[in-house]
Symmetry: C2
């Protein structure tokens, strides 16, 4: 580890920008590393079958408790509980404890574009046409 130049193949070897105009444009208006990190972290929370179904279910009905979610999703309580743990930590869902039952609902400051378009529209689209990675578009019984 005595190579002060770079860890591996850096951007070197490309001192000939093929299209300097576009590079400069993308460089100035492109999103920064930290913004990309935040975006990636946020989307990672939706990029999971269990969590996506949880959020979608909570979008349909106002609130649900852990056991009922597991029942509605045919998933284990552990799995749902773990998923909710992450969503809760991220602040995407809020809890309302009544007795020994903990009710979950989407957070009030849940990103609207996420809720409206990323979740609903993409699901609608995936149901309408089975494009993308080549999955078979099975009929929804």
């Amino acid at each position: 580890m005595d190579e002060p130049t770079d860890g591996g193949h850096s951007a070197a070897g490309h001192d000939h920008p093929v299209d300097p105009t576009r590079v400069a444009h993308a460089r100035s208006r492109g999103l920064s590393a930290e913004d990309a990190g935040w975006l990636a972290g946020t989307l990672s929370l939706l990029a999971d079958p269990v969590r996506a179904r949880i959020l979608y279910a909570l979008d349909l009905v106002e609130e649900l408790c852990v056991g009922d979610i597991a029942l509605a999703l045919d998933a284990t309580v552990d799995s749902v509980g773990y998923g909710l743990r992450l969503l809760r930590t991220a602040g995407l869902v809020t809890t309302r404890k009544q007795g020994r039952v903990v009710y979950y609902r989407l957070a009030a400051d849940f990103p609207e574009p996420l809720r409206d378009h990323c979740l609903r529209r993409l699901v609608t689209m995936s149901r309408a046409t089975g494009d993308g990675d080549g999955h078979d578009s099975n009929l929804s019984e």
Copy 2:
């Protein structure tokens, strides 16, 4: 480990649906496991700093070659090449080979809600207000 009943903590122990109406509703209109899988797989491609920046840059300018992307992102050619490999496999980007240079651009059938709202709006939001998971909203250059 020969418990034929279940692998672990299944949904058992919760034969008392607290809110049967909502459970049934979420069960019927909820998204299936395969739809959730497709959605998760698609979002996973955006849930990465490098890939998100690549797609965002390609959304700004029409097309770019690999070296120029690495230049605009201050990333290694390897990293960008690897990211493009996944996006290309998923069919989110298309290539146009001219000589020894390979130009990338967003696929024509790139999901519109993804492009318009998931990418742009979320970025705008993250820049405007640093809410959500409690990340510090540092000044953006």
